[in-house]
């Protein structure tokens, strides 16, 4: 054994051992170690892509491909944002505009509704253009989360006997 190499010992449950055996078979790896290292390389590659703001899609053709969301990768991707930040909230997980009590989606949804460009949105909300460009990229990449949080809010208001739709019509 090379002096620079180290032996790694860890316990595996029977289920974990089976997972590794399956991975080794699927990857046609010559050893469990090779299978693990190839899986690590793949995970690192995907993480690099997501960290750069790229999205992952799966499908048989570009027209039918659907976005693949891997929560572990998405959460790590937050490190890429310069103008957006996480804030503690009981159930919201989308990001906020740094230094402002303003959800990224508030700016984006308003811009979408009114057909505004990032530049127009920046003027409308007194934000730097770069911040608005980032908000647009983030919200486009997290449409499902934003929609889920809109639905969650409606559900909570409904539980509290507030009819938002009726209020909006009056």
């Amino acid at each position: 054994m090379n002096a620079a190499t180290k032996r790694a010992n860890f316990d595996l449950s029977p289920e974990q051992e089976e997972l590794l055996a399956n991975l080794r078979t699927q990857l046609a790896a010559s050893s469990t170690k090779e299978a693990v290292l190839r899986a690590v390389q793949l995970a690192t590659l995907l993480l690099d892509e997501v960290s750069q703001g790229n999205r992952l899609f799966v499908g048989k053709s570009p027209t039918t491909a659907v976005r693949l969301v891997i929560p572990e990768l998405e959460s790590r991707a937050h490190g890429q944002w310069r103008w957006l930040i996480e804030r503690p909230h009981p159930w919201r997980r989308q990001l906020w505009v740094k230094g402002r009590k303003l959800l990224a989606s508030a700016v984006w949804l308003d811009a979408m509704t009114n057909g505004m460009s990032p530049r127009e949105a920046a003027e409308n909300w007194d934000l730097p253009l770069e911040a608005c460009e980032e908000i647009f990229v983030y919200c486009e990449a997290n449409k499902a989360l934003i929609e889920a949080e809109v639905n969650e809010e409606r559900l909570r208001l409904k539980r509290a006997n507030v009819d938002v739709d009726a209020t909006a019509r009056t």
């Binding site: 009590k101 959800l103 508030a106 308003d110 409308n124 909300w125 208001l157 509290a160």
Partner: protein
Amino acid sequence: MDEDSQARSQLNVLRSDGHEVVTIGELEKNGTPDEEVFDLAQSLDRVVLTHNTEDFHIKPPRADI
């Protein structure tokens, strides 16, 4: 107007319709917690306009108003 609603376009529409509006930003209170925004509005005898429906809905009215 709460911080999540103080877009210039919205402000212009409300003011051109004759509403007397003041924003949290104009009061130099961006970043103020919801509770303080609510208390401030009550102390100024104003309505809070916000997108933050759920968080504000649970706030009880001040007893002396």
